[in-house]
């Protein structure tokens, strides 16, 4: 904390005291307002500040402030662009906010300072119509090029039924068709060099190697990749917009479907932020149940990755074994939650129900069987010399590049950096568990794979600890804002009955404020930044997903390799399209 204020004071001294307004959000991340003229120097200064530079642009997003009532003394603004920077040395976040006025405001781009700002700024432009001056390629990123309006603006409808019937008249069809025509220049690529014409290969959106609806345009010289441009947004379902419509409670199922391999882990990221806003402290039993389910899902997610990665390289059988083991995990999830991939099991202040009788037996069956299988898979895939030949030395990035591009999770640890948010910024009681952070040194596809395989062992350790040390107690916090609300006094007095009735029908009203909680999800750092305007719905939900920056980095690490290597790289990056597009 001390250091954070030093940084803020330092910023104030160099950039002028009048432009910085401090704000104290619920999550205690130091936050300050900076005029748009000063944002580039401020970010530059934070990035180069010694001894603990804020070298990692964690997130960048917009907020439409026009309908907001509880602004907590913030400077007047119609729109806000927020920057979230992180310092690994200091283990601290800092949040910068730029107030903007006007219908379609502009501000300077920081894409020259942080490489991964490029896509984030494009997303803000796409969602809010805020333009970034000096951005190299400001173009819609998630919505279709021909889309009218900017979805996250408050005036944009959230449902198709509010938009009038869909019509595709001839001119519109022609326009849409024309927009689909591929022009290399629009994608920032050249059709030919001095001595050669390039071949453009369109991979996706329907392609067995892209693991979902991802399109990658490859600029090829023979089989060598000169450039690659991913097109994302095919899986965009407006999860952030939905957050402004669904009540705090009914939004939980939507989170399940963000990283759809992570299951309840998404619930956790969302609920930690909600519980911070509501001031709920959950009982130990809840924490351990949550950790156990999350780690089971981490194993399940890594198993899917493991199998499909081998399949990407042409090894067709392992995926069946791994899915069989994943099925074992789903049996546990089903026994506990009733659901499988999207159990929608965590609730505000707890979980939906207590663990069923006999849960320990199903978990134990799994923890007994899995080590032997995992060892077998390891020798089947990881020790296969063809597999090594296809992955070693492919898709390398250094630690510095990883931080610059915003890589988190196993991809970061594969560069030899021992960083895990579960250890470094413990949440949900992870500090109580005994586990290691697996790392590898080279940052290539093989090392990313090694780290993930090792992570499954560590997750198994955590699950075993949960199994042996499940605390007694309630599965839900004793707090009026939990969902579904507690019923214990409702039969005694009418006021509590009314509150209960409102809590069930409208959902809880979460106190005004802003909070974020960062978790180590299956693929990297995942967090939900929530703004409550003292209402039954969130005012703004910002989902920071790990796959988004990872996908942004793919062109950078695949240049110079061949088409076959691109598949290794995509597989080793381990993205989920829903996690990219939200």
């Amino acid at each position: 904390m001390e250091h954070d204020f030093d940084i803020l004071r330092h910023l104030q001294q160099t950039l002028g005291a009048d432009i910085i307004h401090q704000q104290q959000p619920v999550d205690e991340i130091p936050t300050c307002w900076i005029a748009k003229e000063r944002i580039v120097p401020a970010v530059l200064q934070l990035k180069s500040s010694t001894p603990s530079p804020y070298s990692f642009l964690y997130d960048l997003f917009g907020i439409d402030e026009r309908n907001r009532i509880h602004t907590a003394g913030a400077p007047p603004s119609d729109f806000t662009v927020a920057y979230l920077l992180f310092s690994y040395q200091q283990n601290s976040f800092i949040r910068l906010k730029v107030p903007l006025t006007g219908e379609y405001p502009t501000l300077p781009s920081i894409s020259s300072v942080f490489k991964n700002a490029n896509w984030y700024e494009r997303e803000v432009y796409d969602m809010f119509g805020i333009r970034f001056e000096g951005h190299p390629h400001l173009r819609r990123i998630l919505m279709p090029i021909t889309w009218q309006g900017h979805p996250l603006r408050k005036e944009h409808p959230a449902r198709a039924t509010e938009m009038g019937p869909y019509q595709l008249w001839d001119e519109k069809q022609d326009r849409e068709q024309e927009a689909l025509r591929f022009k290399p220049e629009e994608w920032g690529m050249q059709a030919q060099s001095e001595d050669a014409d390039f071949m453009f290969l369109n991979i996706g959106p329907q392609h067995p190697g892209t693991h979902g609806v991802l399109r990658i345009i490859l600029q090829l010289d023979g089989e060598d990749i000169v450039d690659a441009v991913p097109e994302i947004g095919f899986h965009h379902r407006g999860a952030e917009k939905m957050g402004e419509r669904q009540s705090w409670h009914t939004y939980i199922p939507y989170t399940d479907r963000i990283d759809y391999l992570g299951g309840v882990m998404n619930n956790l990221a969302y609920l930690l932020a909600v519980e911070k806003l509501a001031g709920i402290e959950v009982p130990d039993r809840v924490k351990v149940i949550r950790v156990m389910l999350c780690e089971l899902f981490r194993i399940a997610s890594h198993l899917v990755w493991f199998g499909t990665f081998a399949q990407d390289l042409g090894q067709l059988s392992p995926v069946f074994y791994m899915f069989t083991d994943r099925e074992r995990i789903f049996d546990i999830i089903e026994a506990i939650c009733g659901g499988r991939m999207h159990p929608n099991w965590f609730r505000i202040g707890g979980v939906a129900q207590d663990l069923p009788t006999g849960w320990d037996k199903v978990v134990k069956d799994f923890t007994d069987v899995f080590p032997k299988n995992l060892r077998e898979y390891n020798s089947m895939v990881m020790r296969n010399s063809l597999f090594k030949a296809r992955t070693k030395g492919i898709g390398i990035y250094t630690l510095q590049e990883a931080i610059e591009w915003g890589v988190t999770g196993p991809g970061l640890r594969a560069c030899g950096f021992e960083w895990d948010f579960r250890k470094k910024r413990p949440y949900s009681g992870y500090e109580q568990f005994d586990f290691d952070i697996p790392i590898a040194q080279n940052g290539d596809c093989f090392d990313r794979a090694t780290v993930r395989v090792e992570e499954m062992w560590q997750s198994l350790r955590i699950v075993t600890q949960c199994l042996h040390n499940m605390p007694e107690g309630s599965y839900k916090a004793d707090h009026p804002l939990t969902t579904p609300p507690l019923k214990k006094h409702t039969m005694a007095d009418i006021e509590t009955l009314i509150t209960h009735f409102l809590g069930v029908s409208w959902g809880p009203v979460i106190p005004a404020g802003e909070a974020m909680s960062c978790i180590e999800a299956t693929k990297g750092a995942n967090s939900y930044y929530l703004i409550s305007d003292n209402n039954t719905v969130a005012y703004r939900v910002r989902i920071r997903t790990p796959s988004f920056p990872h996908m942004q980095m793919v062109p950078y690490i695949s240049k110079g390799y061949t088409v076959a290597d691109l598949l290794s790289i995509l597989g080793s990056v381990d993205f989920v399209l829903a996690d990219i597009d939200r």
Binding site: G209, D312, L316, V563
Partner: protein
């Protein structure tokens, strides 16, 4: 003049025609059941059941698949070259079928007092013929891939062509060593020698290994299935094909596998030689026809073993990258085959002296 025509051995023509029809249909049936076997082998290796609905153990599955392929709509892309697009699968199929002509499928049989050889054409350049026809097979891939006018197909066709050419070289070199030992290009002679002596694989283990690897590459099987790498190139050169034209490509692949196995069995594993048995003595005991049946059965057992090996490998290991494939072919297999050839030559010369 009429008398000369009539003097022509018509029975010979009929005999060969029956043999051709028989062997072609056997090849087709075997290719069909290879698809079934492939699915069953894959299923067993992946803890699954495999086809089991059509007939007992799914044995009618290939028929259902064939029927499905026939019923599918025949699509020829507008932008393709129509003639070449049709020619591609035809060539692939043709080349695959032609190879079976020179393989001795068994000894002689006795049909109504007439001795009939179970080989369509016992030509004296048998192996060269096989090579010539197999090299033609790559035209099917090239023409099909190019005529599709699709970038994935084109890349696959390029990969396939360069792969086939690269691997034919070590394949041929490994055979030269074998030919030094046999002294004949005639397949019947090569088998005949192994009937009396030991199998060639004992003399030429390295040669066999190289030949085996090259056979995998020639058949586009994993780990050399780059031309149809599903995850990279969307099934490669046959991406635009549908209906029976696709069926032809798939069939050609399975027939190639069958023929490769047959050739490996013939050249290196004694052909129709029944192991641990003196064939000549047994023939006297059981008669010519029963013996031919035994011999055919043994040959097919050997072929089935190789086909299983093909499938086993396919469902076990990942595939090479293009440059790794080329490195293996040119930098490892070609030198190895050359060394094998020179050592064999030296030993043969030394023994003769």
């Amino acid at each position: 003049m009429y008398s000369t025509l009539l003097a022509f051995d018509w029975l010979f023509v009929i005999e060969k025609l029956v043999l051709i029809v028989g062997i072609v249909s056997i090849s087709l049936v075997i290719a069909m059941y290879e698809t079934w076997a492939e699915r069953k082998v894959a299923a067993i290796m992946q803890d699954r059941r495999g086809p089991m609905r059509a007939g007992p153990m799914g044995l009618l599955q290939p028929l259902a698949d064939g029927l499905k392929l026939f019923m599918k709509e025949e699509i020829i892309p507008n932008t393709s070259n129509r003639i070449l697009f049709i020619l591609g699968p035809c060539l692939a199929m043709l080349a695959a079928m032609m190879t079976s002509a020179v393989i001795p499928w068994g000894g002689k049989i006795d049909v109504f007092g007439r001795e009939v050889s179970l080989q369509i054409a016992d030509i004296n350049i048998g192996i060269l013929y096989v090579f010539a026809v197999v090299s033609m097979g790559v035209f099917g891939i090239m023409i099909g891939g190019w005529a599709s006018n699709n970038k994935f197909s084109l890349m696959a066709a390029l990969r396939g062509a360069s792969q086939a050419i690269s691997y034919e070289l070590p394949m041929g070199l490994s055979l030269i060593a074998l030919l030094m030992l046999t002294g004949s290009l005639k397949l019947s002679v090569i088998v005949g020698q192994q009937l009396d002596g030991v199998w060639n694989v004992v003399y030429q283990p390295l040669g066999f290994l190289i030949f085996l690897i090259c056979a995998f590459a020639e058949c586009n099987r994993t780990p050399f299935d780059l031309p149809e790498a599903e995850n990279e190139l969307n099934f490669g050169y046959h991406q635009e094909y549908s209906s029976m034209k696709l069926g032809f490509f798939l069939f050609a692949e399975y027939i190639n596998m069958f023929i490769s196995s047959a050739i490996m069995a013939t050249l290196f594993f004694g052909g129709y030689d029944i192991p641990f048995v003196n064939d000549a003595q047994l023939t006297e005991k059981v008669g010519l026809n029963l013996m031919a049946l035994f011999q055919g059965g043994v040959l097919f057992a050997k072929i089935a073993g190789f086909i299983f090996l093909f499938m086993w490998v396919r469902w076990t290991i990942p595939r090479f990258r293009y440059d790794q494939l080329m490195n293996l072919g040119w930098k490892k297999l070609v030198p190895l085959a050359l060394i094998n050839m020179i050592v064999t030559a030296a030993v043969v010369l030394w023994l003769k002296k």
